[in-house]
Amino acid sequence: MSRFNRSGVAGAAILAVAALVAVIAPLVISADELDVTRVTAAPWQSPGAEFWLGTDHTGRSVALLVAQGAGTSLFVGLTAAVLAVGIGTLVGIVSGHFGGLVAGALLRVTDFFLVLPALVLAIALSTVLPRGLGTIVLAIGLTSWPSTARMVRAQTLTIEARPFVERARALGGGHVHVIGRHVLPSVVPLVLVNATLAVATAIVAESTLAFLGLGDPTRISWGAMLHQAQLHGAVPQRAWWFLLPPGVAIVVVVLAFTLVGRALEAVVTPKR
């Protein structure tokens, strides 16, 4: 318990730092330093006093790129997770509460999305839709809600089977009352935990899409950096400083979200 709390606090601290960097970076870093046409430094410089993490194939500072990329990765991660968890919660509660034909139809749709390889679907979506941040959010959000829906449905079913829901019905409570007063409050903690874990998955998904070259070309993200590094031969150049920082950043932020998620889980799970 205390171990989880300590790691949860550590995760939250990392996230706070990452969020701070994401907010401050665009304000502090001038556009010139990230513009390929205006940078003056030599490409492929190894880490040193001037450039802490070296420079990339065009001479931009890798440290500044990582800082700038934090915003995109966190933004996509959070919005896609909110979208996925939102759809999942809605579908889960509706199918769990109403049952019958509605549930049958919704569950088949859920199963459809569940069996499709999410990455392939996301790739397909982001090739068809116009390129941009919105598309990536949509592609990730639309492919990662089914597991939330299944879980929320299961929780809804267990709550609905409890006698206090029957009592609420006997009192005359309708669907809105039962969902709003009984089902939703017991589902929310679970959803919150799930959301933090979904953010981690979404960040990885965003990086994957960007790495495959399907990201927003106008924006810098950690995944896009890896894509650039791979494209311009960071490996043959032995430019580890171009590959490692964005990779480590992804791992650390995802780990932080997971730690927070698990700590929250321990907090909201009723102790018996």
Partner: protein, 507 residues
């Protein structure tokens, strides 16, 4: 054979068992009575050192002269089940749902290398040998409990501890299970320690009785003597709490008056798929009348209640409330539900654990948008349910209250809408003996003061005797007999009613 010397058990600073001394010889049966939290189960578990690590045990527990506390791990394993075994409480949860019961009975024999056959064990508990291949969900409650007993006997122990072996069973099945236990004790010279909150069950089975109260052993002696002449006030309270059918002192309902009908059920039939749960039932509850609907589990009485409440649709037939047919949907159904309120069996699960007493009681008011001051209405309802002063309870969460208090909150939540009929499904079955009487008295007082009619669904004929004006006996979906309490319970005309009455354990 078993001797407890100055046994005390602490959890942290809390003393749950306080200086208990007990002895049990082979062939002897000892009943351990007490309410929830009296420490009776803790005593039982300590015999096989099954308490959690956090428990601190003092004193000696001698099994055949050997102290359980100082046994080596290997010795303890050998003694568990082969020396003494336990029939756990709640057979439905103690059996593994994905294993055949035969394998589960054989498990201790395999572990201990005991020879014996599952067939033989099933025969001893009066189950056919084919049942060994059944999974727990394919058995009824009574059959599962017998499987638990067979399992306890598997390694030929000399001491059997039965922890509430019949609690969730109805009277008829309970009588069968008790008969099996009694016969086994007599045949095999077993020592039996039986734990129950129900004195009548212990009186039926045990020669000796020990009563526990707040961790202490307050009384011990021959069962007959203890029940006839209780020396400790707590024992007296326990014996008084179980009504004796036919005893006018236990008949708390005032003599009934004939009233015009409030609720009429006409030729009501409910089907679950192909199963007919309720079969052409006619039932009437008059204004201010208390009617008990009795029957075994599975007789369809709960389905009937749900249908009356409009929570299930009937296949055919009519429910008439106050002269008008009960609507099946929409606003009219909602309005009907204000008049009829439900009180469920287990108050702990009937209350949302996240809602305070105030929110739980006010729920009905909010659902129906009742005008007026919510605070004063809630306070009035809570005080009507005898939780005084209301301010002390309003902000508590259900888990902070005792079982009896929780049931009062459920009743207050019903009262706040000023209903005319209360449908109560086993309202006292999960409550302790001392609380049970208080809730029964509360229901009667509400009838007296508010003219509240009740339909009480129960398998407990004693409760019917205590509280009801009329009794309807339900068997396999049909009402086989109904009439005044005296007529049905003292001069039953139907065989099934007689069978039910015979099965009631006598104190």
């Amino acid at each position: 054979m078993l001797e407890l010397r100055n046994l005390s058990v602490h959890y942290g600073h809390k003393r749950v068992v306080d200086d208990v001394n007990l002895t049990l010889a082979p062939g002897q049966t000892l009943g351990l009575a007490g309410e929830s939290g009296s420490g009776k189960s803790t005593v039982a578990m300590s015999v096989l050192r099954l308490l959690p690590r956090t428990a601190r045990v003092e004193g000696e527990i001698l099994l055949d002269g050997e102290d359980v506390a100082t046994m080596s791990w290997g010795r303890l394993r050998a003694v568990r089940w082969a020396g003494a075994s336990i029939v756990f409480q709640g057979a439905m949860h103690s059996l593994n749902p994905v294993q055949r019961v035969g394998d589960q009975i054989a498990e201790p024999m395999r572990l201990h290398g005991t020879r014996g056959s599952v067939r033989e064990l099933l025969h001893r508990v009066e189950l056919p040998p084919e049942k060994a291949r059944a999974y727990p969900h394919e058995l009824s409650g009574g059959q599962k409990q017998r499987v638990m007993i067979a399992m306890a006997l598997a390694c030929g122990p000399r001491l059997v501890i039965a922890d509430e072996p019949t609690t969730a069973l109805d009277v008829v099945v309970q009588a069968q299970v008790l008969a099996v236990l009694k016969r086994l004790v007599a045949e095999q010279d077993l020592g039996l320690m039986m734990i129950s909150h129900d004195l009548s069950v212990l009186a039926e089975t045990c020669d000796e009785l020990a009563v526990m109260h707040r961790g202490e052993l307050v009384e011990r002696g021959r069962t007959r003597e203890v029940i006839a002449n209780p020396r400790h006030p707590h024992t007296a309270a326990l014996t008084a709490a179980f009504p004796v059918i036919g005893d006018p002192a236990h008949r708390w309902a005032e003599p009934g008056r004939t009233a015009e009908p409030l609720l009429e059920v006409r030729d009501l039939t409910v089907d679950y798929g192909r199963t007919r749960a309720v079969d052409a039932v006619d039932l009437t509850v008059g204004r201010g009348e208390i009617v008990a609907l009795v029957g075994q589990s599975g007789s369809g009485k709960t389905t009937l209640a749900r249908t009356i409440m409009g929570l299930r649709k009937p296949s055919s037939g009519r429910v008439i409330f106050d002269g008008a047919e009960v609507p099946r949907s929409g606003k009219a159904l909602k309005a009907f539900r204000r008049q009829v309120q439900l009180v469920l069996q287990d108050p702990a699960s009937a209350l949302n654990p996240r809602h305070t007493v105030r929110a739980a009681v006010a729920e009905g008011l909010r659902v129906h948008d009742v005008p007026g001051d919510e605070q004063s209405q809630v306070t009035a309802a809570v005080e009507h349910a005898e939780l005084r002063p209301a301010s002390l309870y309003l902000d508590s969460l259900p888990h902070e209250l005792s079982g009896g208090q929780q049931q009062r909150v459920v009743i207050a939540g019903a009262l706040v809408l000023q209903p005319r009929l209360l449908v109560a499904d086993e309202p006292v079955a999960s409550l302790d003996a001392s609380v049970r009487g208080e809730i029964v008295a509360l229901l009667l007082r509400l009838r007296r003061e508010l003219g509240l009619a009740s339909l009480i669904i129960t398998h407990d004929l004693g409760l019917a005797w205590q509280i009801a004006d009329r009794v309807a006996v339900m068997h396999q979906g049909k009402i086989v007999e109904q009439g005044s309490v005296e007529q049905v319970l003292l001069n039953p005309s139907h065989d099934y009613t007689r069978a039910l009455l015979r099965a009631v354990p006598q104190v």
